[in-house]
Subunit: 207 residues, 2 copies
DNA sequence: GTGCTAACGGGTCTCTGGTTCCGTTAACAG
DNA sequence: CTGTTAACGGAACCAGAGACCCGTTAGCAC
C-alpha cells in the first residue's frame, strides 16, 4: 500500500505503446464521422465503437460519456494547426482567414461537424472549455497579421488583435448557427472588409 | 370511409376552447424552464410533463419529439415581440440593440435558454427553420433604424439593412457560444460601434 | 341541461443506451 | 524468450426514455 501506483488512473495513460494511441486515433476518427453524420444528439457511443472496430466497453472506460469523448476530440483537433497565409495587407490577410473559415463551414463534412461540436459545448462546461481552447489557439495563430497592421500604422495602437480576428469569424458563425443564410464567398469578403474597416477606425482599441 | 375526417390530425387544432390553449401554455413554459436548467441534452419529456402538471402522454401525443416541442416553443416566442427604442442616431439605435441582446444573453435564465435553443436547432431542420424565423422577425423589427440612417445619408444607398443588424449581434453570440468571453456592456458597445462604422463605410452594400 | 367526442392522463410494456463481469490480448521489462 | 499486467472485448445485465391502451374529463352544439 505504498505510493506505488503513483500518478492517477485514467486508462490509456500508462502504456502509450502503439495500441493505446492506435485505438485513441481510431475512436476519435469514428467519433468525428458519427458527429458529422448524426449530429451531437444522435451520437451513440456503441455506434462509435462499432465504426472504430473497437469494443464499446473500451470507449465507455476511456471516455465515459459522450461529452467526454467530444471534449477529447476537440483537444485532439486543437493540436493539428493549419498554417496561415500571409499577403502583406490587413484586408488581404483577413480575407484569406474569412475564406478559410467560410470554406470550412460550408464543407459537407466539416460544417456539420463544427455545428455538432458547438452544440455539444452548450451543454457541458468541460466541453465548452475545450472548445474555447481550440478557438483560442486558432485566433492566436492569426492575430499576428493584425499586430503587423498596427506596426505599419494602419490600425491604431492598443487594438485588441484577437478581437479583430474573432470579428471576422463571428458573422460567418452567426449565419451558420442562427440566421441560416447562404454563407458564400461574398459573405466572407464582407466580413473581412467590415472587420478591417472597423479596426482601422479604432473600434477594437482596448478600453 | 368517405372523406369525413377532412383536415389532418394534429391534436390541439380542433378545439381551441380554453383547455387546449391552457395546456399548450403550461407545457411551453415548463419546457422553457427545463431547457434553461437542464440544457437541450438533458431535456426529458416526462420531466416537462411533470413540471407542467400534465400527463406525459399528452406531451408525446401533441409534440411527439423533443425537437418538435422546441420548434413549437420557438414559434411561440416568435409571437411576443419586444418593442424597440428609437434614439435618432444610427449608433444610438445600434447600441440600444446591442445592449438589449447583451442583457438577454447574460441573463441567468435567458442565456442558457438561448444556448439550448440554438443547440437544438443544429440537429433538426424543422427546429432550425423555427429558429431562423424567430431571428428573422427580430431583425426585421430593428432594420428600420438602418433604413432611416440610409435616408439621412449617413449610410450609403443599397446597404443591406438586415445584415447590419445581424452584424451587431454576431460578435455577442460568437462570444456566448464559441470563444466564451465575458460579454459585458463594453463588448456590446464595441459591437455596435464596429457595425456602425462598417455600415457607414459601405461594407454592407448589397453586391 | 344533456349528449357527443376530441383531448387528457394513469398505468404498463418495450426497446435501447449504458454498466458490469471476467476472460483474452499485447506492450514492455528483464 | 518469457512473465507481468494494463488495457481490450464479448456477453449478460439494468434502467429509464418513449410508445401504447383504454378509461376519464371537459369543450362545445343543440
Amino acid at each position: 500500500m505504498a505510493g506505488v501506483m503513483s500518478d492517477g488512473g485514467e486508462p490509456g495513460t500508462v502504456r502509450p505503446g502503439g495500441r493505446t494511441a492506435r485505438i485513441r486515433e481510431a475512436v476519435l476518427r469514428a467519433a468525428e464521422d458519427a458527429l458529422t453524420e448524426q449530429g451531437f444528439t444522435g451520437l451513440d457511443l456503441a455506434d462509435v465503437a462499432r465504426r472504430a472496430g473497437v469494443g464499446k466497453t473500451t470507449v465507455y472506460r476511456r471516455w465515459g460519456t459522450v461529452t467526454g469523448l467530444v471534449a477529447d476530440l476537440l483537444a485532439d483537433m486543437a493540436e493539428q494547426s493549419a498554417p496561415r497565409t500571409e499577403t502583406g495587407s490587413l484586408l488581404g490577410d483577413l480575407m484569406a482567414n474569412a475564406r478559410l473559415v467560410q470554406r470550412t463551414l460550408t464543407d459537407p463534412r466539416q460544417g456539420p461537424l463544427f455545428k455538432a461540436l458547438i452544440a455539444a459545448a452548450t451543454g457541458d462546461p468541460k466541453t465548452a472549455a475545450a472548445l474555447h481552447r481550440f478557438y483560442d489557439i486558432r485566433v492566436r495563430e492569426w492575430a499576428p497579421c493584425v499586430r503587423q497592421a498596427v506596426d505599419r500604422g494602419e490600425v491604431p495602437e492598443g487594438t485588441d488583435t484577437h478581437e479583430v480576428i474573432r470579428a471576422v469569424s463571428a458573422p460567418l458563425y452567426y449565419h451558420l448557427l442562427i440566421s441560416g443564410g447562404r454563407l458564400d464567398e461574398t459573405m466572407a469578403d464582407r466580413a473581412a472588409e467590415a472587420a478591417a474597416t472597423a479596426a482601422r477606425a479604432g473600434a477594437y482599441v482596448r478600453a
